[in-house]
């Protein structure tokens, strides 16, 4: 029982990170219908920015700020910085392609992905970095329910992921922006005709999408996973998958998909095989695609001739 509990906690934290990445995919897809293949690399940049902020604030060991404040600044700077990067990417790699076929942005995105990875390697060197939170947050800090331990970093990450998701849904559902985003998704030209400044909306979408990826990247670092220029691919793939499982373009779908994927991955690693877990995830994906081809939360496309 406690074993299951622990695996669920593992899965939920992992899933929270996936969900944030998936949200980024879904947001961009929801508006532009493009698969932003560079998203995983944007996440990588976010993780690096967090790392450098940590260094700037005195590194893992000599920080002159209280830990919560330091973490807050890490998130804030990384999210804003990466968000701006998202805007720049959109401006240069995607905007010129708005009117071309759907495949062109895909290649452009691959190009951006290669660019980001190698620029990161050039600027930050190829070494793998670590946030090394253990030197300022004791690994033993946290609480346990029975045998299930939830350490403080994990808790922070979980709470923060949910707060961000909640904030995002409010932003999309309660503001004009959300409606505009959907309108752009359906018919960009028609949206323009309604007076929607699509450049602005798309800019915001990319900002938020990249900022969420950055948050995921910082969380990843806090959870003690290495930071390197090639780190974006797998989480990118998982986030993408999560978005599809949830129904790409759907915000609750991305969240549910991310969490589900995280939990399934933890459980298959915990009970079945530690190195075949992707295979089981694939089965899950196939099953979802067969039963609900538009994802768990996706709407059926209207067929009308």
């Amino acid at each position: 029982m406690s074993y299951l509990g622990q695996q669920l906690v593992n899965g939920l934290t992992l899933g929270g990170v996936y969900a944030l990445i998936a949200l980024g995919y879904s947001l961009v897809y929801g508006v532009l219908q493009i698969l932003n293949f560079a998203h995983g690399d944007v996440y990588m940049v976010g993780a690096f920015l967090g790392y450098f902020v940590e260094l700037a604030l005195g590194g893992p060991t000599k920080s002159f700020l209280p830990v919560p404040l330091m973490i807050f600044i890490m998130f804030a700077v990384s999210m804003i910085g990466t968000g701006l990067l998202g805007i720049i990417i959109e401006r240069f790699a995607y905007r010129p392609l708005r009117k071309s076929s759907r495949i062109a942005p895909l290649i452009s995105a691959l190009g951006v992905s290669i660019l980001l990875q190698n620029a990161a390697q050039l600027l930050f060197s190829a070494n793998i970095r670590s946030y090394d939170t253990s030197s300022f947050i004791p690994s033993t800090l946290g609480f346990s329910i029975g045998d299930v331990t939830v350490d403080s970093v994990r808790l922070t990450v979980l709470i923060l992921a949910f707060v961000l998701m909640f904030a995002l849904s409010r932003w999309v559902n309660k503001t004009q922006v959300g409606r505009a985003m959907r309108a752009i998704a359906v018919d960009r030209d028609a949206a323009v005709m309604m007076g929607i400044d699509i450049d602005k909306v798309i800019r915001w979408t990319f900002f938020v999408s990249a900022a969420l990826a950055a948050a995921a990247g910082v969380m990843n670092g806090l959870l003690l996973r290495g930071v390197s220029s090639g780190m974006g691919f797998v989480p990118g793939l998982k986030g993408f998958t999560a978005a599809v499982i949830g129904g790409i373009g759907s915000i609750p779908g991305a969240m549910a998909g991310g969490l589900l994927l995280g939990v399934v991955e933890s459980l298959t690693q915990g009970y079945l095989s530690t190195n075949f877990s992707d295979f089981y995830t694939f089965l899950l994906l196939i099953a979802v695609m067969l039963l609900r081809p538009n994802g768990l939360f996706g709407k059926k496309a209207i067929v009308k001739a």
């Binding site: 071309s100 691959l110 190009g111 992905s113 620029a119 994906l285």
Partner: protein, 485 residues
């Protein structure tokens, strides 16, 4: 009431527009215009003939093993590109698991022709069997994909590719029920070395040249076959599926079957390529069948022009030869400077401005050098950095700071920021920005990029993909698509 022409030739109501279609085309100028023009005017037969002559001549005259190996790789890559062009270009299916079929073919060949499982099938048996099996695998993958379209298909196939890799890596210690010890099937991350050579018609393929000729034949046959299919019944039907599946279905075309057929054809071609590739390499390793290759194939298809067969050829050439050229520092330096000069020339709009800009860049370099020596900043001795012929000349002009990495990084970030700024700046600002950007670009190249040729190579490829898509989204030889109306 004002009539702007005489009433007789008002022609009101006549459908004259299409008649004037040709007349209203304003021809594109410059390099791209020439591409368009050549694309339309040079007959395919001539094009292919030239290509064939070149390919045969290459095989007959070149004996450098490395060049032949590159050529053989190119041929495999080209065949793969043609295969993907069927799936994605013709039928419009986003198959991101395409390389898995390639890998499957390679591994299947390795398993049937090596000491790994102690199987040594004759080539005339193993290759056809593998092609058929790969096609069948393609069929299986396409099953769940039947109901999927566009991007959903993309993710399923992408994941399929990743799972394939994982299965191969992990199948080096499979314990079958009822057995104690695990068996090594695929060699896992160690791969399978020591494969049998092809043996066809009593001839054993030993050298890379042998394989080069074999590949030439395979590619030529593929080209003919695919071109024919494209022009006839099935090819047309594929295009209708890509264009509008619902309408296609209403015209009696079984959309799902055609999608699956495309998938299967693509898989079979990839499988065939896999066998040959494995034999050439004399070994198989899983890393080669991952994202980087997929990216390159996609880039080749799309850069060339999705759906266009000559485009695929061109794309394959660029995407497989360019990275090799960029490996050689001197070439990449010359290439870089040429492109930079061309870009500045194009953006200058006019030779006068170009001359002005060029002299400004030169002046800027001297100025920086003079100022820095006046401030007696530390510099690197020029003898240690000038490697290529170009940089030997540049060293009298360009400042080389002592801490190359730091200054190089700063300049790199600055360069990106400036380029970003440039494209949204006003004309007047652009005027001053251009020489500045050109100078910093040269600085970054010589100071920072030259010492990391490999990262630079990747950076250039990435940059090229983005820029080419922006300049020519339909690819070199692709047709502009009208998506919706």
């Amino acid at each position: 009431m004002t009539e702007q022409t005489t009433p007789e030739n008002l022609g009101i109501g006549t459908d004259e527009w299409v008649a004037q279609h040709e007349k209203r085309l304003s021809r594109r100028a410059g390099l791209l215009g020439i591409v368009d023009f050549l694309n339309q005017k040079v007959s395919p037969l001539v094009r292919y003939l030239l290509l064939a002559i070149f390919a045969v001549g290459f095989g007959a005259l070149v004996h450098n093993l490395y060049l032949l190996r590159i050529a053989a790789n190119l041929a495999v890559f080209l065949a793969l590109t043609l295969g993907l062009n069927v799936v994605m270009g013709f039928a419009g299916l986003l198959d991101l698991g395409f390389v898995a079929f390639f890998g499957f073919g390679a591994y299947a060949y390795a398993l049937t022709s090596s000491a790994q499982l102690n199987q040594h099938w004759p080539t005339y048996l193993s290759v056809p069997a593998i092609v058929i099996t790969t096609a069948f695998l393609g069929y299986l993958v396409s099953l769940p994909s039947r109901r999927l379209f566009g991007d959903y298909l993309a993710i399923v196939t992408l994941f399929f590719g990743q799972v394939f890799i994982q299965l191969i890596i992990s199948s080096d210690s499979i314990t079958f029920p009822g057995h104690e010890d695990s068996v090594d099937i695929t060699g896992g991350s160690n791969g399978i070395p020591g494969l049998d050579q092809f043996k066809l018609f009593g001839y054993t393929f030993k050298t890379i040249t042998d394989y080069y000729w074999l590949l030439l034949v395979v590619v030529a046959l593929l080209l003919v076959a695919i071109t024919r299919v494209d022009r006839t019944r099935v090819g047309r039907a594929w295009r209708t599926v890509r264009e509008d599946p619902l309408a296609s279905q209403s015209m009696g075309i079984k959309v799902n079957n055609l999608k699956m057929l495309a998938f299967i054809v693509g898989a079979a071609i990839a499988g065939l390529c896999g066998t040959i590739y494995a034999a050439i390499q004399n070994a198989v390793f899983i890393n080669g069948f991952d994202m980087p290759l997929l990216t390159l194939i996609y880039a080749a298809v799309i850069l060339g022009g999705s759906g266009s067969i000559p485009g695929s050829i061109l794309g394959a050439f660029v995407m497989s030869v360019l990275p090799e050229i960029l490996r050689v520092q001197n070439y990449s330096e010359i290439l870089f400077l040429t492109v930079l000069i061309l870009a500045v020339a194009a953006l200058s709009k006019g030779w006068k401005r170009f001359g002005f800009n060029a002299s400004l860049v030169i002046l800027l370099g001297l100025l920086v050098k003079v100022i820095s020596s006046a401030l007696s900043l530390a510099t690197t001795p020029t003898s240690t950095w000038a490697v290529g012929p170009v940089s030997k000349a540049l060293k009298y002009w360009l400042l080389m700071p002592a801490n190359r990495i730091l200054w190089g990084n700063i300049a790199f970030v600055l360069l990106i920021a400036l380029i970003a700024n440039y494209s949204i700046a006003k004309e007047r600002v652009k005027f001053y920005l251009l020489p500045l950007i050109a100078f910093i670009a040269i600085f970054v190249w010589e100071v920072r990029l030259v010492i990391e040729p490999n990262t630079t190579r990747q950076l250039i490829i990435g940059m090229m993909l983005v820029v080419l898509m922006i300049v020519r989204p339909q690819g070199f030889l692709g047709k502009t698509r009208v998506e919706v109306l």
